[in-house]
């Protein structure tokens, strides 16, 4: 009996052992699973917490102007961080640090009590403050040198340059667009770490990639930029314009020499500004160009040969009806030559030319000039502007387009298109970065002028230039833009802005503008000045033209451009009376050269007197019917005239 009981006891003890044995086997299997099956995952996890890859961003590349003056550079500055678990007296430490940094002690304390091994306390602190904190000698509070972006010229060209974030990655402008080069490849420092976030000295490791950052050399000339910024500042002060911009371009190449915007920001303190101020509005904002657009209309009309340079248009006394709409002029013009349509900026004249071109042709050429498409300047956020579909354009729409309404363009499109006129007809791709260089100055990548297409012929460009010169001559709208000693070609613009509430053109808000190039016959600079919502007079000729003059005068001087040999202004004012109140006889433009003998001129739209004047030197027989303006002619323009040819003109009073 007892023996049997003992056996049962032994059996139960064996059962207990068996239980233990099962447990040992389970542990063995688990060990195999962890160390063989899951090994890689767990090792990766281990590596992740044992090592920290610190990206020490190398000093970001410098941005130079074209003369290698610094526009943006990086310096080293200290950032304060903590290994929270190492800080002993958290409360006291946070109070002291907060005192020096001028922060809330609670914010600091929260970070010092963080569970994470690493916390930034404040990045990029002033050297004096850093020194004070260093003197506290608190364990667990450390410094790391970081790269700090500095813009030595403050707000100069700020919208072009953009700015960087704290890390520092480019967030706007050139800094953003060329971040790949400027930022280079960060040094990756692999540190062995313990859980307190301290570096393990024995395992301080590897600095593998050390590819340098590159520097960017701009086409911008800091001196011209300064001239532009200064002129713009003065203009904004004087006109109290809500905003303003100015651009200077080298017409033959498309290089941007200066790009300024008001209001602007200081990229050294970018956090104080909102996005509207930071944006490069030269690139991103499209607006209705208004009268300055007539320059392109003129070029298109000449290119399409729908008018001749001697043709005159009737000003309809400042009221021109198309359908139900009435086009107004700022003055009640009578007869206007093509030149004077530009010179005096007649909407009615422009409308007639536009209508003569028709929607399709107008559209095609407008697009040839680069409107409605990005210029490809390689800056972030470029807008296309709006060029309406010609098929949906009414007659009024065409007329509006002709004088720069119902179309929206960017400043960069305008100056690029104007450069094409200035350089003889080539539409260039505008650019701001000349080359990218490495740290020893070797060129890594360079950019060259890139013609995109020929948009007008050389002859057209010369003729447009000739007419644009008249704008600046006495009597023109842009006389304020005249630069002593140099011939200026230009065009004023005074565009009504659309009132966003009324959805109508406002009578209060205008954009006053001026664009032109100088010296007119061998242009070195194309300059565009736009003043948005000036408080006093809105006229581009009054407010923008003087800015143009200032910029042009100082820049030419800076560039040592020799003055144009002006021989006592040979073309000065041959037309003293252009006002519609003067009699029609007097409005006969004396400078209209009669067609060379033997060719029938275009007489359409001319008054009888003008028509006869044009035919005056030809020995032809003229027959006329009706009164008013020529609506039909025979033979058609360009026909050979022989002596005694009968010319038939039909006239009709203007509607």
């Amino acid at each position: 009996m007892r023996k049997k009981q003992i056996n049962w006891l032994k059996f139960r003890i064996f059962l207990i052992f068996f239980l233990f044995f099962i447990c040992f086997v389970l542990i063995l299997l688990r060990a195999l699973q962890l160390q063989i099956v899951e090994r890689e995952n767990l090792q990766e996890l281990a590596a992740r917490q044992h090592q920290r890859i610190i990206e020490l961003v190398p000093n970001r590349g410098t941005i130079f102007d074209r003369n290698l003056s610094v526009m943006a550079e990086s310096t080293e500055i200290e950032s304060l961080y903590t290994h929270p678990r190492q800080v002993k007296n958290v409360r006291q430490a946070s109070r002291k640090i907060a005192d020096i940094l001028g922060m809330n002690p609670r914010t600091i304390e929260r970070k010092l009590r963080s569970q994470r091994p690493f916390e930034w306390l404040q990045r990029k602190i002033l050297p004096a403050k850093a020194e004070k904190i260093r003197e506290l000698e608190i364990e667990g509070i450390n410094f790391l040198k970081e790269s700090q972006r500095y813009y030595p010229n403050g707000w100069l060209a700020a919208n072009l340059l953009g700015f960087v974030g704290i890390d520092p990655e480019g967030l706007e402008g050139l800094e953003f667009q060329h971040d790949r080069y400027l930022n280079g490849h960060p040094h990756r420092v692999l540190l062995g770490l313990d859980a307190k976030g301290r570096e393990i000295i024995t395992e301080l490791l590897v600095v593998p990639t050390d590819l340098p950052s590159y520097s960017v050399v701009l086409t911008v000339d800091l001196n011209i930029q300064y001239i532009v910024e200064k002129a713009l500042t003065e203009a904004v002060k004087k006109t109290r314009a809500r905003s303003a911009m100015a651009l200077v371009m080298e017409p033959q190449t498309g290089r941007i020499l200066a790009m300024a915007i008001r209001p602007t920001f200081n990229p050294n303190m970018v956090r104080n500004y909102n996005g509207d101020v930071i944006r490069n509005r030269v690139i991103t904002d499209a607006f209705e160009p208004g009268s300055i657009f007539k320059v392109f209309l003129l070029a298109i009309a000449l290119e399409e040969k729908v008018t001749q340079k001697n043709e005159i248009f009737y000003g309809h006394n400042g009221r021109y009806q198309i359908g139900k709409e009435i086009i107004h002029d700022h003055k009640r013009f009578g007869w206007l030559t093509l030149e004077k349509i530009i010179k005096f900026s007649s909407n009615i004249g422009a409308s007639q030319i536009g209508l003569r071109l028709g929607a399709e042709k107008l559209d095609r050429h407008i697009r040839d000039f680069g409107f409605g498409a990005r210029t490809g300047i390689n800056l972030p956020g470029e807008a296309k502007g709006i060029v309406r579909n010609p098929k949906s354009l009414s007659e009024v729409g065409v007329a509006n387009t002709a004088f720069g309404q119902g179309i929206s363009v960017t400043a960069i499109q305008l100056i690029t298109a104007l450069s094409a006129i200035a350089n003889g007809g080539n539409l260039m791709r505008p650019y701001v970065v000349d080359r990218i260089i490495d740290q020893s100055g070797n060129v890594v990548k360079s950019f060259t002028p890139e013609p995109r297409r020929r948009c007008i012929s050389l002859e057209t460009s010369q003729e447009v230039t000739r007419i644009m010169k008249a704008v600046v001559e006495p009597g023109g709208t842009g006389t304020e833009a005249a630069v002593p000693g140099y011939l200026v070609a230009g065009k004023t613009g005074t565009a009504q802005k659309i009132d966003p509430l009324l959805k109508k053109y406002s009578n209060e808000n205008y954009i006053g503008s001026f664009m032109g190039f100088v010296p007119a016959d061998d242009p070195r600079l194309v300059i565009l000045v736009i003043l948005d919502e000036p408080e006093k007079t809105p006229y581009g000729g009054v407010i923008a033209a003087p800015v143009f003059k200032t910029i042009a005068e100082r820049s030419l001087q800076y560039l040592n451009v020799p003055p144009t040999e002006v021989t006592a202004s040979p073309r000065v004012e041959r037309s003293p009376n252009y006002y519609p109140r003067t009699k029609r006889r007097e409005s006969f433009p004396p400078d209209i050269a009669v067609q060379p003998d033997g060719v029938m001129p275009n007489l359409l739209g001319l008054s009888m007197r003008n028509a006869l004047g044009r035919l005056g030197k030809s020995n032809v027989e003229v027959q006329m019917s009706g009164r008013g303006l020529v609506v039909k002619q025979k033979p058609p323009p360009g026909s050979r005239l022989k002596e005694g040819t009968v010319c038939y003109l039909r006239l009709r009073p203007p509607s």
Binding site: A31, L34, L42
Partner: protein, 378 residues
Amino acid sequence: MTDRFRFDFSILLITLILAGFGIVMVYSTSAILAADELKDSFYFLKKQALFATGGVFLMALAMRINYHLWQKLAYPILAVSLLLLTLVLVSGTEASGATRWLYVGPLSFQPSELSKLALVVFLSYFLTKKGAKIRTFQFGFLPAILIPGAMILLVIHQPDFGAALFLGIIVMLMLFAAGTRLSYILSMALIAAPVVYYLIVKVPYRLHRIMSYLNPWNDPQGTSFQLVQSLVAFGGGGIFGSGLGQGKQKLFFLPAPHTDFIFSVIGEEIGLIGALIVLGLFLVLCIRGIRVSLDAPDEFGTYLGLGITSLISLQAIINMAVVLGLLPTKGLTLPFISYGGTSLVVSFVSVGILLNISSHALRGAVDRNVGFSGPGRS
């Protein structure tokens, strides 16, 4: 006693290997911690070596003491143990939310470690005395759980939930061996279950431990931090480990690397090889201990041998299972290897008693002319 003192040499050898290995691992795991917090990287090494020396001395002593002495001393030992447990509640030193240590001069002492041995001695005595009566409820089962129950309650109060649960399991195992009806044990477990549940849910950190056990990757930086770090360390070691002293997890990632989670660092630094060796040593120790229990000349020896073997094996099993994420975090150390003076000394004394039983078992085996394969030494 004969002039030729024979005992189970393998048990002694394994114990010494484990303890020696423990000292090395304690140094490897604690050096940086000690240097960081106590400015003496040898601090834990020195203490562990000191306690191991004392432990070996006491083991040698216990080996020579006829184990039947403990049968007579069962009640005094129990009384002392209960007194110390009460004392620690009254005047113990608090460490991380629990009162587990008594200080006597420069020495610190953890009464719950002693209570494990005291409980086993008492139960062996009690079960031997009751004999067949253990199968009855009022004379056997009830007294057999009331006295240990009081002990467990005191331990819960420290609070040392892991140790209390551990003691409870030891009681169950020994009662099971003694032939208590399974229905009693099961109903006991059923009664204990809601209490255990309440104790877990009441204390947030216990609940967190359970939650993190169930889903360790849910919040690796928070509640599961310990477990995840343990798995990362152990698994990261691979087959051969990163090399002794080369582990990185002990660098403040793994909490308690020299105590509860030392097995994890073994896995990291010596790899699967090291883990299997430790596991194997404990398994052999378990087998030899059970052998001693089975071969013991009397019931007291059998119970005592089983109890001591269970103490060491089960604690090792639970500790390793916790480290490998098989069980929720308990707070039990790895016998002989983890840092901890009281635990080390009590473990050595336990093994000393076991070795004494083995010597009687061998003599009995020789007397009964039954072959015994283990080596015998004088």
